[in-house]
Subunit: 794 residues, 2 copies
């Protein structure tokens, strides 16, 4: 029998929801400090050029300008990261349009903007490379980082066996004998897929404020998902002692991976050092689109060999990730994203090479699910094509190959907590899957019989054709990683100190629920301290769907440590051994004699005019660290026993209508089923699924940052289309199903829920469109124009 | 041999000095928050009146006004404190000119000021009492607090045996048989002395900002010396859970005792509750003088009986402290101030009654040395009068009676750490004391012979007459009290978390030195976290000269706890028992084999992209609480074994010139000697002495807040005279001597240094003036007018 919980597993509104929806939550963009200056960054207008000179004299002469800085005012050191391939401000050359070349601090933003215009930069344009297939060549026209001549230095994860000067990462997986696999296959299918440039587009743009104190101590407020990482980057770049740098993260208005690297923080610091005043920089929306990071495109070549009866025998993946001018956090994308190739199916023979390449484009960074949706776009489109060629139902084909508990995947991991199959069955059921399919007979007989659905061309007379599509996906969560949490016991409340940033994904609520569960109090009574490195202990990052699993674990352990201390104190007072005690509702009671109890507040003295007070040991602080380590693995084969924290699995099914006269697509029903281990907050998981579906639809059908000769053509919400509420399926048409494949290492069995939902969305839609109108779009986004062109071709 | 220290005992510049002198330190008055409103308080114009009606409609109609509140918007609860005798905002009557009756929050301060003028209050004036001798009568003309009918309730400390309805406290000391003492005396001398209304006048006025969040959590930034007290008062008054209230104290621009009670905080809170926005209130200088607390006057009657050879046999003190309309923290003044009566001399028979009385004046609160300088004004002036009548040198008379180590004082305390005699001798030596004196022969023969000084009328032809005066004083430090401190060990620094507020007195430096001493690092490398109740643990108050002794102790203990943890961790790594380890300069080494060492940073892992990290237990936090308890004592006699934390002792000597034609007084030399137990920062102790002397001279000769019919007449720095740098003795003419009577319970033997310096200043000057021109001014301040009148009378 499953353990009964009082707080976790319950539908719980976001604990910080009210302050957000009432507009009272404060974000970095809201921040004001006494005497604060406004900063503005001057950016390159060339994709590749030498800087011949920078004349700041006119800007400096402008009334109200307090400081003008160029690369020469910054330490001559590359930004810390994997590759250290970029200066924070261009010194002698620029590698993309939007690269910082100077910055200004002034009394008002208007003056700063005017001053930036007055900075005169003389460039000598150089040839640029924009095409990743050109860039990846062994002898390309342009080499972006000639200084990076040591491939050992470039490849901390994985070694590269070919010298291609614009490649910054190559992640390889080798399993079995892929050539033999293809030879033994009854059918081998090849295909090329590609994705587009898209932008994270959070509501709150990048925003930072820095104040350098007279004693050198620095406080940085910033809209970031990576507080300790930002601190480490600052300390590494400026060579500051880490205890001298305080990073505070107010509420964050979205990030989706894009707020992981230094963007404005270091400018604020240098300008504050120069002026002695606080300096604030807020990106414009245009800067978000041109100078923040983007989700760079992939070109994905897939070759798959299968038996006649639908068993995958071999898979070969060759993909190029378009990383832009500097690698930054995108360095990891080929590595981590490759996990999706091995996450869902049993593949006896696999050869996968995912390259990251430099071009003279803006920087590609993290975006929700970090490379997995892009590669899944190829894999799951390809699965449908193979199934069709086999004459097999797409669900049945997937079920024949889906990975299950205890299976070893193609990277050598023994899979645990695998809800893939259950997700697949659930969405098939919910979408009334009825394409030719045998799987129903073999599977759970208790499910109600599927109704005849509207798959295929529904109504011959209407231009609107209806179809259904399905896709499977997985999302790893990275490791090694770790998290420290402190739980402070007040006489009248329990406080959680964590640096896990809630970007809107609801981690605050989940963590408050865990504290609530452990202390027997409602989640909304838990006092949550927003991230402040002076108060909240180290945590890795709000990323990779790790908060519930990693920080959930450290939170639970910190609660246990706090309770241990409480029970020891209570034990002295009520004369019962600590291990016989429990706590609920601010009382500590004897488990087998609950009438015998003491209030937590009774463990405090009341010092006159000070209030509740510990006569010994200052405060009751439960402390814990949870570490998720990895096993060694072989960079030449990608094989290792434990390479990630966990895998979340998910399946999605779309029912679409496609207008054959206009190419327009309407999503009429969308079903997600996600395996989250244990849904600590089912309402939050559903929120993730609903938001993820909207984002996935937007990615699949609309979003495309167009870049021409290195220049972003549509850096605004007029020209860069994100669907609005009228263009997306109504929430009633979105169904979110929770699957719980308990994870033995997760808190209460929980894993992560934030990203997997995005992995199968686009291919599910592409598959549905193909089902509706018989055209297969292989390059995202699936625009009306592409559908019409394909229909015409057909 | 005294222990050698590396950091303490060294002259150390203030660790926060640079940011303060460069103007970069941020004070509450500097604070800005997004959407912040400005508040303003409407105040009573009557000293005693019924409020018939308040019409806020015109104020509410003013453009930019966001909220107008009156007493009815506040909880109907009196402010917590000893007596709970006042509402924060008048409800149906006002008791003094300046009492709050309403408040406004508006977009700008100017609008708020205009709105306050538009609030119409209709009063019905009532008779008022201003004279404390009228107020103290058993059947006075006006009773201020008829609701306080229970004297038991009014008297938590000490019981009152007479029913006098305007008395809010009576503190009694009874020792021996005072009548018998007078009968056995050869000489009995009586005298009456009085002090004036003065104001603390810190550079930074009262300033507070409050932000009430949507979830009810409240953050208050305030210029206060009492962070946890403010939090307790807020929670008590509003009935908030304490963990929902965060009090942050930025740098504080002086307080001197005046920033201990709620002044603006609760207005900010109610206005923020009403508007959902941050609200800031900064007092004007006029409000500081009329609506913040003042040092209320005393009337002191002293009767002293002595033997022919100068032994005090009996002392009777009857004093009235003028407390104003509400008691607030001033409730304690009669109790605590009484300690000065027993602190310096052996008095076999003592009867002391110090009353606090209500009148329709503004509230009297704490002021540096809390009642001691006022009572010492009487005692030490009287000592000189008695000495003269005995025909005995004033120093010799004091030396015959001065209290010494192991003596039991008149309150029953066995005195420990008593530097009084040494202070007296040192200042006599330094001022070249040469009045008829026998003591030199009896005392230390090693001192150089005294030179013939300029005592008495120096130059018959000049109107400037020269004289010398001396006085002795003591300052208790209150108890019970306590302090918690946390010391966090970073991989590259040591952080101190304390709620001990540095008001300018230098406590941050002293505490940083203690941390520096314990860790073997320079004081200025210690990272100090300013008070924030979310981070810094409970501490009682920046008051009563307690920081060095109380917080010094808890800081030292927290360092020991942190080092215990470090040594345990290091022990595992280097295989040496923890008790054989020590630390210096961020290294842990084996004491008897210093080459064997490990860096503190080696006890941290480096988590990728997170930075230094504890793989277990989140953070290294040393925690400690130091409590100073008191013994029971008898409220009817004031007798108890330990009633205070410690006594600091001090003596001062003034050399003055008095102009017999104008009455003007010049201080030509001023010497202080203070017994501080151990001077942790000699430079800081000297700073306290120099600042204290300036303040004492200002009190003695200049400051006088004139109140006419309840109305302050001179609420500004033009009419309320504080001497400027030209009117005060040059720092070269001020000599500061440190005496160290090691205290067994103090950290490194230290006591407090902040207040005793003010205790003997005014009587030393009065005694010098008498010595110069033969007139005795018994009511402070000693103005030129009073001297001239006295000279004329003579």
């Amino acid at each position: 029998m499953e353990k009964q919980y009082a707080v976790i597993g319950k539908r719980t509104p976001q604990v910080d929801g009210i302050e957000k929806v009432t507009g009272r939550a404060k974000f970095t963009v809201d921040l004001m400090l006494p005497n604060m200056l406004h900063g503005k960054i001057k950016r390159s207008t060339y994709p590749h050029a030498k800087i011949k000179s920078i004349d700041t004299s006119k800007a400096e002469a402008l009334y109200g300008v307090r400081a003008v800085v160029t690369g020469m005012d910054f330490p001559e050191r590359k930004l810390p990261g994997c590759l250290c391939d970029g200066y924070p401000v261009a010194r002698d050359r620029v590698l993309y349009v939007g690269e910082p070349v100077a910055a200004v601090a002034a009394d008002t933003l208007e003056i700063a903007e005017e001053a930036v215009e007055l900075i005169e930069v003389e460039y000598e344009e150089l040839p640029a490379v924009f095409d990743p297939e050109e860039a990846i060549k062994p002898d390309p026209l342009v080499v972006l980082h000639e200084e990076l001549d040591s491939y050992e230095r470039m490849m901390p994860i994985g070694k590269m066996d070919v010298k291609r000067p614009n490649v910054f990462n190559l992640y390889k997986i080798r399993c079995g004998d892929v050539e033999k696999g293809f030879q033994e296959s009854d059918l081998v299918v090849e295909g090329r897929y590609s994705t587009a440039y898209i932008q994270n587009a959070p509501l709150e743009p990048h925003a930072s404020v820095a104040q350098v104190e007279a004693d050198g101590r620095i406080t940085v407020w910033t809209s970031s998902q990576y507080p300790y990482g930002i601190r480490k980057q600052i300390c590494g770049y400026f060579d500051f002692p880490s205890h001298k740098v305080r990073v505070i993260i107010p509420h964050v208005g979205g990030a989706f991976g894009g707020k992981s690297d230094l963007r404005a923080e270091h400018f604020c610091i240098v300008l504050s050092q120069k002026t002695g005043r606080a300096v604030k920089i807020v990106f414009t929306r245009a800067e978000e689109f041109t100078a923040a990071s983007v989700r760079g495109p992939y070109i994905i070549d897939i070759k798959e060999g299968v038996t006649r009866d639908g068993k995958i025998l071999a898979r070969e993946v060759n993909a190029i990730f378009h990383g832009g001018a500097y690698s930054e956090i995108g360095f990891f994308k080929p590595s981590f994203g490759s996990n999706v190739i091995v996450g869902s199916y049993k593949i006896p023979n696999l050869k996968s090479d995912v390259y990251g390449v430099y071009t003279n484009h803006l920087v590609s960074g993290a975006y929700r699910a970090f490379g997995c949706p892009e590669l899944a776009w190829g894999i799951e489109s390809h699965m449908d094509i193979v199934a069709e060629k086999l004459g097999m139902d797409a669900v049945e084909f997937r079920l024949k190959n889906v990975i299950e508990e205890g299976d070893k995947n193609a990277a050598g991991e023994i899979m645990h907590s695998v809800g893939a199959k259950e997700c697949l069955l659930k969405v098939a059921e919910a979408i009334s899957w009825s394409r030719e399919s045998e799987f129903r007979k073999a599977e759970d007989e208790k499910l109600p019989p599927l109704q005849k659905g509207a798959g295929g061309l529904a109504d011959e007379s209407s231009p609107w054709k209806r179809g259904k599509g399905i896709a499977l996906g997985s999302k790893y969560s990275f490791a090694p990683t770790g998290s420290s949490v402190i739980v402070k016991v007040h006489h009248d409340g329990i406080e959680l100190r964590t640096s896990a940033v809630d970007l809107g994904q609801g981690s605050n609520t989940v963590l408050a629920q865990i504290v609530g569960e452990e202390f027997g109090i409602p989640a909304d009574e838990v006092l949550l301290i927003l991230t402040d490195t002076d108060i909240t202990p180290p945590d890795h990052q709000a990323g990779s769907s790790r908060q519930t699993y990693i920080v959930g674990n450290s939170t639970r352990l910190a609660c246990l440590d706090a309770k241990r201390q409480l029970f020891e104190k209570a034990s002295e007072k009520i004369g019962v051994a600590p291990d016989r005690l429990a706590t609920k509702n601010y009382k500590i009671f004897v488990k087998d004699s609950p009438d015998k109890s003491i209030n937590i507040s009774d463990l405090f003295d009341d010092l006159f005019f000070v209030g509740p007070y510990q006569r010994e040991g200052a405060e009751i602080l439960g402390k814990a660290t949870f570490n998720q380590d990895v096993s060694d693995y072989d960079p030449d084969t990608g094989q290792g026993e434990r390479r990630v924290s966990f895998y979340s699995h998910g399946a999605q099914a779309a029912e679409v209508e496609v207008n054959v006269e206009t190419g327009k697509v309407k999503i009429v029903k969308f079903v997600s089923a996600m395996d989250v281990g244990k849904a600590i907050n089912p309402m939050g998981v559903e929120g993730q699924m609903e938001g993820g579906v909207h984002m996935g639809i937007s990615n699949a059908l609309y979003e495309h940052l167009v870049i021409d000769n290195g220049q972003v053509v549509n850096p605004n919400f007029m020209d860069y289309k994100i669907p609005n509420i009228l263009e997306l399926p109504h929430v009633k048409e979105i169904q979110s199903l929770i699957v719980e494949a308990h994870h033995r290492d997760g808190p209460y069995g929980a894993k992560g829920a934030g990203e997997v939902v995005l992995v199968p969305t686009a291919p599910a839609i592409a598959n549905a469109i193909y089902n509706a109108v018989g055209v297969r779009i292989k390059d995202m986004p699936i625009t009306a124009e592409k559908i019409l062109n394909a229909l015409k071709e057909k």
